[in-house]
Symmetry: C2
Subunit: 140 residues, 2 copies
DNA sequence: ATATACCCGACTAAAATAGTCAAGTATTAC
DNA sequence: GTAATACTTGACTATTTTAGTCGGGTATAT
């Protein structure tokens, strides 16, 4: 079970942004420098965050991205969904009657993995961006 | 976050075994057929389970593998560890002072991912093989 | 003897990941 | 009005990981 960089960077970048005044556009270049994340990779990530209405963009000089909501109201689960990073613990298709390995019934471990799936998603449901900021120094 | 087949099959195979009398060797061929898992892949997995003292082997005709302990005393976390499948949520090296991206301090999201790591491992710590068997039909 | 079933290291095809690249467009500052 | 900044978009690619396979064993029961 590994967390990929796309999700990790998305949260990291948004956490970086949320340390600034809410209507102040933050440029990807700055985030890239502060957090040591590739600028081109960030661009890719932010297009998805924009499409999913987590941020909005301001073009041109002194432009950048702006959070669309208060950090308190941005759940990690939304961020993950925005960058298409799903939790996948079962081996079968979730909505299908079929099991993994092409069988017509769910396997003996299916329920366990399903439970794990819910358990992990629960973590992301119950965390928001502002949870990342409490008791933290501004170390950028 | 995806669960790989190695862990999934390891648990599945052991759950299969634990439905049989404790000292009755179960052959990988049978597990392979019942659970539709490649026999050669299972062999690879069971060598590790054996090295980690979760099962022991009985060679020769009518041989197979036998659980070394009661299913109640085999935690999922042990199984995962045996097949080298770790949870990895942080981007940095856990024991190092350094952060991800080669910085000398931990990043702004480090604590979050560390918390997630503990949270997920907790699930595996609190589940054992026998938990998979309650209220289940023998559908093999 | 022979069949069964574990043992072990090395190998490989395919998929996923972690980015990069090229060629834009919109906005602001001067 | 032109230069500079910064977002936009789709395609492309190297690397790594995954999910196995393969070949050639050894031990044991019948
Ligand atoms: S994981 Fe769903 S059927 Fe096996
Ligand atoms: S995840 Fe540990 S420093 Fe970033």
């Amino acid at each position: 079970m590994k967390l990929n960089t796309k999700s990790r960077y998305a949260v990291m970048a948004l956490a970086d942004m949320s340390k600034f005044p809410i209507n102040n556009p933050v440029s990807l270049r700055d985030i890239s420098l502060r957090q040591s994340i590739s600028l081109l990779y960030l661009e890719q990530i932010f297009l998805k965050l924009k499409k999913n209405e987590i941020v909005k963009s301001v073009r041109g000089t002194n432009g950048g991205y702006v959070l669309r909501r208060d950090p308190k109201n941005i759940k990690l689960s939304e961020i993950f969904q925005a960058v298409d990073q799903k939790v996948k613990t079962v081996g079968c298709k979730k909505d299908s009657k079929k099991g993994c390995n092409g069988k017509s019934v769910k396997c003996i471990t299916h329920e366990l993995w399903d439970e794990l799936d819910i358990y992990i998603n629960n973590f992301f449901e119950n965390k928001n961006l502002s949870d990342l900021l409490v008791n933290k120094e501004r170390n950028y």
